[in-house]
Amino acid sequence: MEILMAILASILFATAIYNLLQKQFLRIIIGTVLLSHAAHLFLLTMGKLKRGNPPVLVEGVTNYADPLPQALILTSIVISFGVTSFLLVLAYRTYTLNKSDNMDELRGSSDE
């Protein structure tokens, strides 16, 4: 199953990057969201899958899923959420100010 999840995460990575290479803000930001999904899935997978109960202690159960990756993912999810929210608002503001949601039209030159 880990291999399959690795493949899925890689597909998410690839699609994320394809989106990042697009012009429109929406696609690009979608790319970043997919990117974080891929990263989290990788992290989960690398901590081994299906190795036991949810990491909540229950009497008599000794077999738990690895809690550390979960804790790390949880932190990362929240952080990614913060960043994505900011990115969304930033993209919106950039659009309203520059009147374009096309990254290619927002190249600008360094001599401005």
Partner: protein, 777 residues
């Protein structure tokens, strides 16, 4: 000794304050005693009983960097030139520079230079030497740019800086290589390990590095091009830095390291070759010049070439001649620069085509110039010091035995002829300089100012120098025992005994000198008939043009290169980034044999998980193809919810909860922000464009896949997770292990995760409000 070296620098700091009083008293007077005292200090060492001495001051002992000053014959000679001519130049400048000028700047730069130059010639520690060396370049830069509102000054300043500093960096590399090879930073100790250096694999490199340093500084071909442009500096500076002292730093360096490299064929060859080429080219080009200072500049170049060549010869006579000529050149060239300055000052022009017949107006200057130019030309007169060293040069060029190798032999055979050719041109421009300025037709209408003789005090400095010319010529032995032999000894590394006398009998050098005078006279008289040759050589091909082209290209090409990839396109950046990461990481993984597909220890595959995975994969791929923005957003939501379900399946309920909330809010935010934005456009890019995108993304995805599988299959160690399950309740006091980790074991992460949200919130707030505020204005 440190006080002697740093006295000018210490004064340089107070000069800006002294210059406030410049309307009462010329700043020059206030500070003249400094170099004079230094000069007297160094004169006190002169004498036949001179012993070299060292005084050391620690600076950065842990790096073996110290201010250790080593006063031997060579450095004494230079120290005397620096302080002596320095004094004369200050004296001269008092009359040359008006009080309205920025005297504070001028003298500050000049005194910084004085310390730097003294430091160069006295330092035994290579890093200290280098530090002083760079400061000579910098002060020279500032002095050339003294009249910075002139375009030519700025051009000359930058040119000299670029060339001399690049040489300086090369020198630094050479010096560091030397310390790496010898393990010491002291030049004296390096000399003791000469054989270690010569045998090390670094030797060729060291030689090249050091030569580049010396050649750029001493304006050797083809790095000579900065010196003529340095003439934009005030004339006292030209006389001081750009003829008598700074340009001789390279000579000094080579002389200093002759003790190590002397006798090496490569050293001989490079120095002699470049020296003699510089001599010939410099003198050849000097004849063509029309500006007095330009003639003197090219003259300096050629004379430096001559000295360099003599150092290359490496025989005792050559080295003695070199040392002798250093002194002689400083005297006659210094005086000639000052005279040129006086002519400029009194007539308002330095263009030799406008000058002529000034003898009657400026008899004193003319007399001084006569001695200077004739000494420079090497006219055989007993009272002209230039002749002595010139004759020694011829002599040395004929005595180049002891070097083996075909090319070396050919070079040795050709050298005397080149020496004569160079000297002939030297003779021509010297005559041209004197006769063109002081004799011939007086062209009143072309002169901006009616000429008259300069005040005596202004003439005093050149007079002293010309007296030097004559005294050295008449009584060479005065300088020989106390000064020159010590210097030559220091260079040669062994006792050099040389008697200087005017008449040696009918020997080849005499014929050579006579040939120079005869042919030189002929060429001078027929100058107008052969001058056309300059339009052919160098013509359009000159190193100046190469330099100009190079500097232009530095900016133009940089601009082109940079903006081919820095074009603001996020896509291009991303492609470059991803392509680099993919190829390099992939290659490393491949060569380090890190790919590991031997699957082990995996959980069983189940149908429903596969289906969920398929859903997520399809949804992810769909984000690329859907054109409705809401659809795109919702499809991303599907991926997120799918991930939440995976979290559910893989025993991570807390993650599932968080993921669900976050995904929902994110989708809502997406909808909120993107409602106003245009719908997604139909895909219009070319196939190649899309193919590239696909290639890059699939490539990167594949890389991640390979790494993840390899990493998963290479579990070298058990994870630290057991500890958490064992201790979560016992030590952490909670039964939800993830929670315990988050709030306790890794509470730090959580605290700063909250800070990120805090920052994001404020950033979003100010992003919205700041615009509103601006809009309201």
């Amino acid at each position: 000794m440190i006080y002697a070296v740093f006295a000018p620098l210490l004064f340089a700091i107070v000069i800006p304050f002294l210059s406030r009083m410049k309307h009462k008293i010329h700043t020059g007077w206030l500070i003249l005693p400094v170099p004079l005292l230094v000069f007297i200090y160094f004169v006190s060492f002169v004498g036949s009983g001179f012993e070299s001495q060292v005084s050391s001051y620690s600076w950065i002992p842990s790096l073996d960097i110290s201010l250790s000053f080593h006063l031997d014959g060579l450095s004494l000679l230079f120290a005397l030139l620096i302080s002596g001519i320095g004094s004369l130049v200050v004296l001269y400048s008092i009359y040359y520079l008006d009080r309205e000028e920025r005297l504070g700047h001028f003298y500050t730069y000049l005194y910084i230079f004085m310390t730097a130059m003294l430091g160069v010639v006295l330092s035994d520690n290579v890093f200290a030497l280098y530090a002083f060396w760079e400061f000579t370049s910098l002060s020279s830069f500032l002095l050339i740019g003294y009249w910075h509102f002139k375009e030519r000054s700025r051009y000359g300043a930058i040119k000299s800086l670029l060339i001399t500093v690049s040489g300086g960096f090369s020198l630094l590399a050479g010096l560091i290589s030397l310390t790496v090879v010898t393990g010491t930073t002291s030049i004296r100790e390096m000399v003791g390990q000469a054989d270690v250096i010569l045998e090390s694999s670094f030797f060729p490199l060291i030689l090249i590095f050091l030569l580049l340093g010396a050649f750029t500084k001493s304006a050797q071909f083809p790095f000579h091009i900065w010196l003529p442009d340095a003439m934009e500096a005030p004339t006292p500076v030209s006389a001081y830095l750009h003829s008598a002292t700074m340009v001789k730093a390279g000579i000094y360096l080579m002389a200093r390291f002759s003790a190590i490299f002397g006798g090496e064929p490569s050293f001989f060859m490079l120095l002699s070759l470049f020296g003699i080429i510089t001599l010939v080219c410099g003198s050849y080009m000097a004849v063509r010049q029309t500006d007095l200072k330009a003639i003197l500049a090219y003259s300096t170049i050629s004379q430096l070439g001559m000295i360099m060549a003599m150092l290359g010869f490496g025989t005792d006579i050559a080295i003695f001649a070199a040392v002798f000529h250093i002194l002689n050149h400083a005297t006659f060239k210094g005086s000639l620069f000052m005279i040129a300055g006086i002519v400029d000052h009194e007539t308002g022009t330095r263009d030799i085509r406008k000058l002529g017949g000034l003898m009657t107006f400026m008899p004193m200057s003319a007399t001084l110039a006569l001695f200077g130019t004739f000494s420079m030309a090497g006219v055989p007169m007993p009272f002209l010091n230039g002749f002595y060293s010139k004759e020694m040069f011829f002599d040395a060029s004929l005595q180049l035995s002891g070097y083996a190798g075909t090319f070396v032999e050919v070079l040795a055979a050709v050298l005397p002829y080149l020496a004569v050719i160079g000297s002939i041109f030297t003779f021509v421009y010297s005559m041209y300089l004197f006769f063109g300025t002081f004799r011939g037709k007086y062209k009143e209408e072309q002169l901006p100012v009616k000429p008259h003789e300069a005040p005596f005090m202004m003439l005093l400095s050149p007079i002293i120098l010309v007296v030097g010319v004559i005294v050295i010529g008449l009584f060479p032995s005065l300088f020989n025992n106390g000064l020159l032999t010590h210097a030559a000894d220091a260079v040669f590394g062994a006792e050099v005994t040389k008697e200087i006398s005017f008449w040696h009998g009918f020997i080849p050098p005499l014929y050579m000198s006579l040939a120079v005078v005869a042919l030189g006279t002929v060429l001078y008289l027929t100058k107008t008939s052969w001058e056309k040759v300059y339009t052919i050589i160098p013509g359009n091909f000159s190193f100046n043009r190469i330099y100009d082209w190079g500097v232009n290209q530095l900016e133009a090409a940089s601009n082109r290169i940079t903006f081919t990839y820095m074009n603001g396109s996020l896509r291009l950046y991303m492609i470059l980034l991803l392509a680099s990461v993919t190829t390099i990481t992939g290659t490393v993984l491949f060569i380090s044999d890190g790919i590991n597909f031997e699957v082990s220890d995996v959980a069983p595959v189940t149908v429903h998980e596969v289906l969920i995975a398929i859903v997520m994969a399809i949804a992810a791929v769909a984000t690329i193809f859907v054109t409705n923005r809401i659809a795109a957003i919702l499809v991303v939501g599907v991926v997120g919810y799918g991930l939440a379900i995976l979290f559910v399946l893989y025993s991570a309920p807390d993650l599932a909860l968080t993921q669900l909330i976050v995904e929902t809010v994110t989708v809502a935010l997406f909808l909120l922000c993107f409602y106003h934005l245009p719908n997604l456009t139909k895909r219009t890019e070319s196939i190649a464009h899309r193919g590239m995108n696909a290639l890059i993304s699939v490539g990167f995805g594949a890389l991640m896949l390979v790494i993840s599988i390899s990493a998963y299959n290479s579990q070298f160690f058990s994870t630290i997770s057991d500890y958490f399950t064992e201790n979560a309740y016992k030590l952490g006091g909670g039964d939800n292990i993830v929670n315990v980790i988050l709030v306790d074991f890794r509470g730090m992460d959580t605290l700063f995760e909250v800070s990120v949200l805090f920052g994001a919130g404020l950033a979003i707030y100010s992003l919205i409000r700041l615009r509103k505020n601006k809009g309201a204005k």
